[in-house]
């Protein structure tokens, strides 16, 4: 993995660490945005301690010449503004053999945990250098250090810094420039550098977006006009994005008193004809389950985004897991057919959410989107996501005076035309009780059967197309995964390919209804399947088993959070297996 010194790289990773308030994350953000200006791709992940403020904070950044959304196992460069509380998260950011640690010699010794391997250590008196410059700040020195090492131009950086600091006055901008230059100068003197390969200029501007923002924008593209909100980490940013965004297009977000309220608010708004959404995390989703069942039974389209975090219970709010698969698919009382989908990357949060809105509206059913903290709070440099034709469209009942209206009429595709309040002759009562085609409560055997069949069939018959998942590569050995684990699995497949091991990646976006036929086709001829997921109990594995047989030679690789399963770990599983 170690690149020869000074040879241009395809990908570089660095971490900037410091006490909360030291500006490590700002530094990382500036570097990422500037990288986007010169056409690079990349991802930024924040790592913060449990303290609300003043705890440790780190920006973990990977930049690359081709789209990349997941971190590498270790870092080429680590800049420590200080080492306070560093022990708490230093395990998070191993420095690669051949990597470089830069620290302020006055901020105490470099922790032993880091200096082990073949890493070099360089000194930089960040604090003193910053003090040399009127208005100077350590984190801007760090920006310069990294920029120097990876070959990022001062112009690109100054574009970003100027935009960010302009309103603080020219002096502040100038101080920034001086700090960056000082850092660059210092970096030039080190024995190592990690230059990232330049990419050809392009007229397309990069987008800089987080997964949570992408969910929000996907919702808007899909036609969402109403949202209800109850804050919860790590989903709050979806709601905070949507609040002003919806207002700007003539929609609204309402802050609810709790999740019981927010889910019912969106059911009400959707009943009124507006495509509606909410976002939450595990504990909030649990509170929504009863009313999600109402939406299923009363056939009200809604989308609920669950940005998953470590469970069970309150768990670890700021870290990722995929362990809400079970509740999203099976957490309803009674049989309540619905749809569950999961974005395959940060950028895919947009597509998947838009698709979810489309399906909710088309099927008049609740759709759960399983994003997670690793997608939601990561910020990526991507190309503008393509427009897709999915715009939530309901089968609407157009009042006909001579015709009586059956809200839950049995139709060929199971979807019944829905009357929107205000439509003459369409009056009906939506009901969570077992009901007749008209909506009247019933305890008749035939009504229960017909309506349950209908609700199942409309979903089973839906044309999910090839959005059910992604298939990449070829080989008899298959890595089978879903949602956010697609990124690391894809990297693993690339790593293995470089070693001459052809491995196929099959990754599911459609979690429920389970895409039995499509997956069966994708797995045809597979002799070995490794099922990869970030859960403790293997929820995804059991979910697959419940619906289809896997080849006898199937293995599970699953692990709880808080550490993300990395590409190297997945690759190791395959290597170990192959060498048997």
């Amino acid at each position: 993995m170690m690149a020869p010194l000074n040879a241009p790289l395809e990908s570089v990773s660095f971490a900037i660490v410091g006490t909360g308030g030291a500006g490590a994350i700002t530094a990382g953000s500036i570097l990422q945005e500037a990288a986007g200006k010169v056409g690079w791709y990349g991802v930024l992940v924040r790592s913060v301690g449990p303290q609300i403020r003043g705890g440790e904070a780190a920006a973990l950044v990977r930049l690359s010449t081709t789209p990349a959304e997941c971190m590498t196992k270790d870092f080429d460069i680590l800049v420590a503004i200080d080492w306070k509380n560093a022990d708490r998260f230093i395990g998070d950011m191993p420095v690669a053999s051949g990597g470089l640690v830069i620290a302020d010699p006055n901020a105490g010794p470099v922790p032993g945990a880091i200096t082990d391997a073949g890493t070099s250590v360089e000194n930089c008196e960040l604090n003193a250098r910053a003090k040399d410059i009127p208005g100077g700040r350590e984190n801007m020195i760090a920006v310069g250090l990294v920029a120097g090492l990876i070959g990022l131009s001062i112009e690109s950086l100054m574009q970003v810094v100027t935009a960010k600091l302009a309103k603080k006055g020219e002096a502040v901008v100038e101080a920034g420039r001086k700090c960056i230059e000082a850092g660059m100068a210092q970096a030039a003197g080190y024995g190592q550098s990690y230059p990232l390969k330049p990419v050809p200029e392009s007229s397309d501007k990069r987008w800089l977006i987080t997964g949570n923002e992408a969910v929000g924008l996907g919702a808007l593209r899909g036609g969402v006009r109403f949202a209800a909100a109850y804050p919860i980490t790590p989903a709050t940013e979806v709601l905070e994005y949507l609040a002003p965004a919806l207002a700007s297009i003539g929609g609204a977000l309402v802050q609810a008193e709790d999740e019981l309220s927010s889910i019912n608010m969106i059911i009400g708004a959707s009943y009124g004809g507006r495509a509606s959404i909410t976002a939450t995390s595990g504990p909030g989703l649990a509170l929504m389950m009863e009313s999600l069942g109402l939406a299923a039974a009363a056939e009200v389209p809604i989308v609920v985004v669950d940005v998953m975090r470590c469970g069970p219970s309150t768990g670890i709010a700021t870290k990722s897991e995929q362990s809400d698969l079970n509740i999203a698919v099976y957490g309803f009382h009674g049989d309540a057919p619905h749809v569950v989908v999961a974005p395959l990357s940060v950028a895919d949060c947009l597509f998947t959410t838009q698709w979810a809105v489309h399906m909710a509206e088309a099927l008049q059913t609740p759709v759960v989107v399983l994003s997670d903290q690793s997608l939601g709070q990561a910020r990526v440099l991507i190309e503008r996501p393509a427009n897709v034709a999915f715009i939530g469209q309901r089968k609407i009942w157009q009042g006909q005076a001579d015709q009586s209206y059956d809200r839950y009429a049995l139709t060929a595709d199971g979807v019944s035309p829905m009357a929107i309040p205000g439509t003459t002759g369409g009056q009906y009562t939506a009901d969570g009780l077992t009901h007749t085609v008209r909506g009247t409560p019933s305890s008749k055997k035939s009504d229960q059967k017909e309506q349950m069949d209908k609700r199942r069939d409309k979903i089973d018959q839906f044309a999910f197309g090839d959005h059910w998942g992604a298939v990449e590569g070829t080989g008899n050995t298959v890595i089978l995964t879903w949602g956010s684990m697609t990124g690391p699995a894809r990297e693993a497949v690339r790593m293995l390919a470089r070693e001459g091991r052809g491995v196929k990646l099959v990754s599911l976006r459609q979690i429920s209804p389970f895409p039995v036929a499509a997956l069966g086709k994708a797995l045809a001829g597979a002799s070995r399947v490794l099922v990869v997921e970030q859960t403790h109990s293997g929820q995804f594995y059991r979910h697959i088993r419940a619906h289809m047989d896997l080849p006898p030679d199937t293995r599970q690789f699953n692990r709880e959070g808080p550490y993300l399963i990395g590409p190297d770990e997945i690759a190791t599983q395959i290597r170990d297996w192959s060498s048997l």
Binding site: L260, R384, G422
Partner: protein, 274 residues
């Protein structure tokens, strides 16, 4: 749009209520349909939202749009509906269990949020649907299987809580007084913001003692005030059988609402460009 002239019957569906003969809720249904006729809005422009309970069965007995949701959440559902469809008249119908027990939090926050809708609670001081358990408004010594000898708890005071939380219109009526109830409902709907009307509606099956209510209710002797503290004091000291409009507030209704014009999302997309 309001050219048609309406009668109460236009707001009644042909579905037979499951209610016990003599249940007060029959009267409430009559008052509701009469009030709607008087308001003169087309049935299709009205939405009646409810939770679960005998009382909450009411939407399907009207000829309006209805939503019979889950237990206790009607106010939240209705708020979402009204905010996104400000053109509709939204009525929420509940029971004392649905509204004040499991639904208590939404009651507090609906009063506070002050969305322009009308909340009618058919208070029979018992869980009728589940066959006779004490509700928050049940007298502390009322004997039942679940609370032998009574709960010993102070009865919940819906009107005071409504006032303290910011409801903009507060009234109490008795189901048997159809004329007065109709009138109050009309005013409640017309009053901007969140209007709350408690209707004492006897459960003849599990609280046969409530058949006596027709003899004990009496009309409030004073005019409605616009001072919540004064209204609260008055209500806290009355005998709970005082009917009429007790408070008319002047708070501005909740403002956000969704319009039919869809804005352009291009500027929102551009914001992600660097």
């Amino acid at each position: 749009m309001n050219a048609r002239k309406f009668k109460a019957g236009d707001y009644k569906s042909d579905i037979n209520p499951i209610w016990c003969p003599g249940c007060g809720d029959f009267h409430v249904l009559m008052s509701i349909t009469k009030a709607l006729a008087e308001l003169g809005r087309r049935p299709e422009d009205i939405a009646v939202v409810s939770g679960i309970g005998c009382s909450s069965r009411i939407p399907a007995y009207t000829n309006c749009y209805g939503f019979h949701g889950v237990h206790g959440r009607s106010l939240a559902l209705a708020a979402g509906l009204k905010v996104s469809r400000p053109d509709l008249t939204v009525m929420v119908m509940s029971g004392d269990g649905d509204g004040f027990s499991i639904g208590g939090n939404h009651f507090l926050h609906a009063c506070r949020r002050n969305v322009d809708m009308t909340y009618v609670v058919m208070d029979n001081r018992v869980y009728g649907m589940t066959k006779g358990q004490p509700s928050p408004t049940t007298e502390s010594d009322w004997d039942s299987a679940l609370s032998p000898g009574g709960t010993g708890l102070r009865a919940f005071h819906p009107l005071v809580i409504a006032l303290a939380s910011g409801a903009n219109f507060v009234a109490r009526e008795f189901s048997g007084n159809i004329k007065a109830t109709t009138k109050t409902l009309v005013e409640a709907v017309n009053h901007p913001g969140f209007s709350f009307v408690e209707i004492l509606s006897p459960c003849v099956t599990f609280r046969p003692d409530e058949k006596e209510w027709k003899n004990t209710v009496h009309t409030a002797q004073v005019e409605a005030t616009d001072d919540p503290a004064r209204a609260a004091r008055r209500i806290m000291t009355d005998d709970g059988m005082n009917t009429g409009i007790l408070y008319r507030g002047r708070r501005k209704p909740y403002k956000a609402h969704v319009s039919d014009e869809v804005g352009d999302i291009a500027p929102l997309e551009a914001a992600f460009e660097i």
